[in-house]
């Protein structure tokens, strides 16, 4: 990675600065003796996961007490705003010790030197995760910038009862998906199979990832931006075509109108991820027990891959004066069976650690999917097929550009290819402005 050299140099200075700061802290703090190795440490943790304070209590009363490492949760709002907040705090040198970060935000945090390399402290954590998941926290280098927490493998959700009523079969390929949408539209003009929504860029990124897109890669010392590569173009044209011919709806998700369409059966399927049951519970409360989950349609019969939409990790900041202690906690939180069970119960997360996906916490299907008893077994199998991802240092810019360009294109039913080009151009322009070298 081109920014690695710059980063390494910074880490060296950061360590020097940190050491200087610890000596100072040793004079001032009474409850914090400033031991940089480990031992007595008070850590703060920015996270948005509900119920995280209860999970952290387990640490503070158990392993944390033995090692004299106390963690305090400071609950935050999720999303890109938190990344901005972390970077602002880092600028002032006042970042917390630990942060929750979505995978696609990690390169942004790394290139701003906000999160630390914890390769030495992460121990044997690597073996607990699927390679594709772990790779997102190393950014393809020898460093480890975070421990994976939860993942969002993508799946196809559909109304079992209505599929039967309209004589539809579950599409196994995207061609079948398009045929299903057309058939439904022809027979029931008022009902849509699903909608193309541009208000969550993660969905499109996941679909492109499934098709084999690599949005950010490195070539020597330069970045290569593949947002309009053949795979992504295929995905964009596929959905653009369906929207243009009116085979699917073009209204955004997560609106009251969308909720109503799902709740009343005017939209009968949703391309989503493993966390969809939670969303459906509030969006379509009257349809409990009527949905089923299936693998995402494939681009060819022989393939079996999925993308990911969502998911996050626990990272240690460069501002932390107890990086070793913080990394220990991060590893415990995301690999210890007791912690993972508590995370599933209190926070409702789908764990990245592979063994936890089939643990007792996931023996029962989500309440909303009580009819599909094998929900989590199937989910775990699908999670194994997740395609590798390739995030870059300004995913937020690409995502914003996507929302603008594709939002307009979907509304006007115009060319998605042009929107994709705009997204790519905006992203490259921003990277150049930030001083990254980009190969054309």
């Amino acid at each position: 990675m081109p920014n690695i050299t710059k980063h390494r140099r910074f880490v060296a200075t950061a360590v020097a600065v940190t050491l200087g700061a610890t000596t100072l802290a040793a004079c001032g703090g009474s409850d914090d003796d400033g031991d940089a190795r480990s031992g007595p440490a008070k850590l703060t943790y920015w996270t948005w996961t509900p119920g995280m304070d209860k999970v952290v209590d387990l640490w503070n009363k158990g392993p944390g007490k033995e090692q004299q490492i106390t963690v305090t949760v400071k609950k935050q709002a999720s999303g890109d705003t938190l990344v901005t907040k972390i970077l602002t705090a880092h600028k002032a040198g006042k970042g917390p010790d630990l942060v929750q970060a979505e995978y696609q935000a990690l390169p942004t945090l790394v290139s701003n030197d906000a999160v630390a390399d914890i390769a030495k402290e992460s121990g044997d954590a690597k073996g607990k995760f699927a390679d594709g998941v772990w790779q997102q926290t190393t950014l393809g280098s020898d460093a480890v910038y975070a421990i994976p927490q939860d993942i969002g493998p993508m799946m196809f959700y559909y109304r079992e009862d209505l599929f039967e009523k309209y004589g539809l079969t579950v599409p196994k390929t995207w061609d079948e998906f398009a045929a299903t949408a057309r058939k439904l539209k022809k027979e029931e003009p008022d009902v849509d199979l699903t909608t193309f929504s541009a208000n969550d860029s993660g969905l499109f990124a996941g679909l492109a990832q499934q098709a084999g897109a690599k949005w950010w890669t490195t070539e020597g010392q330069k970045w290569k931006v593949g947002i309009d590569d053949a795979a992504t173009r295929k995905v964009a044209d596929f959905w653009g075509g369906l929207v243009k011919e009116g085979a699917i709806d073009n209204q955004p998700m997560y609106t009251p109108a969308w909720n109503k369409a799902l709740n009343t059966g005017r939209q009968i399927a949703w391309v989503s991820a493993v966390w969809a049951p939670g969303t459906l519970t509030t969006a379509a409360p009257d349809t409990q027990g009527k949905w089923r989950m299936a693998p995402l349609p494939q681009w060819s019969d022989s393939e079996n891959v999925t993308g990911s939409w969502g998911g996050s990790s626990t990272a240690v900041t460069t501002d932390s004066q107890h990086k070793g202690a913080a990394a220990k906690f991060a590893a415990w939180l995301n690999t210890d069976p007791e912690a993972l069970t508590a995370l599933a119960k209190e926070g409702g997360i789908y764990p990245a650690a592979t063994t936890a996906q089939t643990s007792d916490a996931f023996a029962q299907p989500p309440a909303f999917f009580s009819n599909q008893t094998e929900f989590y077994t199937a989910a775990s199998d699908i999670a194994k097929t997740t395609a590798p991802s390739a995030w870059g240092p300004n995913v937020n810019v690409a995502y914003t550009s996507f929302k603008d360009a594709f939002g307009t294109a979907a509304k006007d039913k115009s060319d998605f290819g042009a929107a994709l080009k705009k997204m790519r151009d905006d992203t490259v322009a921003d990277m150049k402005k930030q001083g990254f070298e980009v190969s054309e």
């Binding site: 935050q76 709002a77 999720s78 002032a92 966390w275 926070g347 409702g348």
Partner: protein, 301 residues
Amino acid sequence: MSSLAVRKTAPAAGTTPGTAQGPPLRRRIALVPTLTLLLGALYCLLPVAWVVIAATKSGSELFSTFTFLPGTGFTDNLSDLNAYREGVYWQWMGNSALYAGVGALLSTAVSAISGYALAIYRFKGREAVFSVLMAGVLMPPVILAIPQYLLLAKADLADTYGAVLLPLVLSPYGVYLARIYAAAAVPADVVEAGRMDGASEWRIFTRIALPMMVPGLVTVFLFQFVAVWNNFLLPFIMLSDDEKFPITLGLYTLLEQGSNTPALYTLVITGALLAVLPLIALFLVVQRFWSLDLLSGAVKS
């Protein structure tokens, strides 16, 4: 028959003189302005009505029933909100009251004293100070939030109550308003008379000028209170500890809980409704101070 006729005509006869004496009831209703105002009122009140009605709906009714049909979940929503993380909502409400109350009070005090000084005293650089203030009025506070954060972080004040209160103390708009009001409401003659009687400058300010400025200062206080109560960006950047969050920030964390947890819409809507009530109460209470303009006629020329 005749008595009936008399009874019938009697009231008519009684009223006739009245109508004849009084001015003809021909107050013209100005149609266009009235309609415009009605439309404006509708525009402002519809969202409020939406919040009120949506707060009564349970989670399953929120998006499925007719928008303006009251639901059945209001008490459940209230108790859910009350129970959410052991009542952290009330902590946020208290924090908001602290930030808005103390912040507005401090900034009103600063505005009063500096507005008075700028209006009454003539000194070198007065216009320069005032021009800088005017520039401050034009500067949206949003732009200043990050520099203020970096400054306060240097002073080790980030993530404290002070971090939110300090930047609020000096409100350029408040000082501007106080100066304009002091210039109009505190006659130079009164200040001069005070000096003749041997009162100190401080005594003149607190005992004579301040009471005259009360209606203006109430306005400054209200403006500031509402601005702080609704403020989002400054506390968002300054605070990381959610026990110190004001209500705006707290409700935002309920909405953005990450992709695997649904947003708590019903709680946010109920919380937003409750958050408006203190503002309405404050306006009702403070309203009477606006007419407290007793001393404005102290000097007649």
